[in-house]
Amino acid sequence: MIPTQKSDSERLITPTMLVLFLVLATVPLWIARVGLYPYLGIEILIWSLYALAFNLVLGTAGLPSFGHGAYFGIGAYAFGLCQFNIVANLWICLAAAFVIAGLAGALVALFISHRRGIYYAFMTIAFGQIFWTLAIKSHKVTGGEDGLLKIARLPADLGFASFDLAGNVAFYYFVLIVFALAVIALWRLVHSPYGRVIAAIKQSETRAAHLGYNVWLYKASIFTLSAAVSGFAGGLFAMAQLAAFPDVMSLHQSGYVVMMTLVGGGLVSFWGPVVGVFLFLIARDVIGALTNAWMLYFGLLFMAVVLFRPEGVAGAITAAWQNRSLHSMRQQGGSALRLLFGGERWR
């Protein structure tokens, strides 16, 4: 019957979150000792935020977006350009990254939100390529292929105190706090009435429309939100790299976030994208140290997951952890894949 105990979906902060945040907080203490480096931790956090934002569209809404790098890149440029041309204030520049990427997302959403499935995928690619080309060709604004250089890690000014973020450890903790706040907000969003409507639209646009929901508006809004948060992550990335480059906007880099999310299990789990980013970036560094062909191995893993394990790594973990059947997770992942890329359930 109606549950009396609070479920995780009702909590603001879940036990999983707490454990994750605490473990992440210890990373700078041991990461150098295991042969890695603090900057990797920053990269993992930023890409995790980006992948979580991306999964709002892919996993939560069931819409295949293959040009998401555009919004990540736009956020990075917006952060840098705001710093150079408007005001060198951390909060304003991060807000600019969020807003400008969100506006770009809203513009694209206007043209694609009546679609789904493979048509949606192609249109997101086309728009992604347009933004990428613009970034490369607008030398005067973006620096073209050389990138927008000399972006500073602005200090975090809280009014009563100001923190210098120039060092990697300080910046790591700043990104971790932002990441934690964003995770809490996204968890709430996904489990809110809005998130449930989005999940309903993913399963049947027809039914949702006949229940009185403006399907187009919901699809456009979730895409815009996802683009805005991706752009926010892009702003952090510009700070991390001290520069903004067009390559993150390219089609193959947009593909990375898809691979991360699917391998991690974003189709069945909130945490899938984070798991995927961990695997991807650590594989890049660890396997990449042994062979240049590391992407060959990760690509094979990706294909195996899509073909045989649509629940991804997070699906397998959830099944083991919560004693849920792996079979049902696999079915869920499989049907989500069919929904995204074709099969009997989408028209």
């Binding site: 019957m1 809110s192 009435p193 809005y194 409507v197 399963q203 229940l211 009185g212 929901y213």
Partner: protein, 247 residues
């Protein structure tokens, strides 16, 4: 004045005329049946009535208000609910979640991103009550895709009922049900009859003739006969076809 007033509806797909001058007036509280052979245009007429298909000509009035050409979400918000012949449920949601998403109160909070959807037990309670109405009281926590065929049919209707509609459109609700299922459904629809206005497409003549106040027969995109069940049994057209043979 009738609650639903449909006048001169034409629908064309390319050069094919699917519906031709359909008129229909359904007073509040009436159970109006639609019957006719496959491909006659019954479901297309439903699609027009619920805003899924725009008519090329004609008008639809709901309680005096012109709703012609409004999108399906607008028409749904005005209190027109429908079930589907091909089951259209949220398969990964539980039965209760399926109903919950359709509640008008939930819809009003559709853009609420700050609270937990499960935090408001009022919705869960309301949805459970609807499930009880259709005989799914103990299936609330079962995922829609794991329900039996008959239970999924019942859930189809439960989702529409949860919308608290003024007009309920049922598209072949008995489709695929065994005789026992049809009996239970007839009992349910019998209880609803009179409380809300019902328009139902149905092939099961026994079901339709025992419940409907009036029936329209649609053939080749036109209404060829209309009347109370006992009148229709005398109708020449119905007698000549095999539509009336179970009546």
């Amino acid at each position: 004045m009738a609650l639903i007033e449909v006048a001169g509806i034409h629908v064309r797909f390319g050069d094919r005329v699917v519906l031709e001058s359909i008129d229909l007036a359904v007073p509040e509280g009436e159970f109006h049946g639609l019957m006719g052979p496959n491909g006659a245009g019954k479901t297309t007429f439903f699609n027009v009535l619920t805003g899924r298909v725009r008519p090329s000509r004609g008008s639809i009035r709901l309680d005096g208000e012109d709703v012609t050409g409004l999108g399906s979400h607008r028409i749904a918000a005005k209190g027109v609910a429908r079930s589907f012949q091909i089951m259209t449920l949220f398969d990964d949601f539980t039965a209760r979640e399926n109903v919950m998403v359709g509640l008008p109160g939930f819809r009003a909070r559709g853009f609420d991103m700050r609270h937990a959807a499960d935090g408001d037990h009022g919705f869960a309670k309301e949805a459970s009550e609807v499930l009880t109405t259709v005989g799914l009281a103990d299936k609330g926590d079962v995922r829609a895709k794991d329900l039996s065929y008959g239970d999924r049919r019942a859930l189809e209707i439960a989702v529409a009922l949860g919308q608290n509609p003024r007009v309920l459109c049922l598209d072949e609700p008995t489709s695929g049900l065994g005789s026992d299922g049809v009996r239970r459904l007839a009992a349910l629809v019998g209880r609803l009859k009179g409380k809300l206005t019902i328009v139902a497409i149905e092939h099961d003549m026994e079901f339709l003739f025992s419940l409907a106040d009036r029936i329209s027969v649609i053939h080749w995109g036109q209404v060829v006969a209309r009347g109370a069940p006992h009148e229709l049994q005398q109708n020449e057209w119905v007698k000549r076809s095999n539509l009336g043979r179970f009546a």
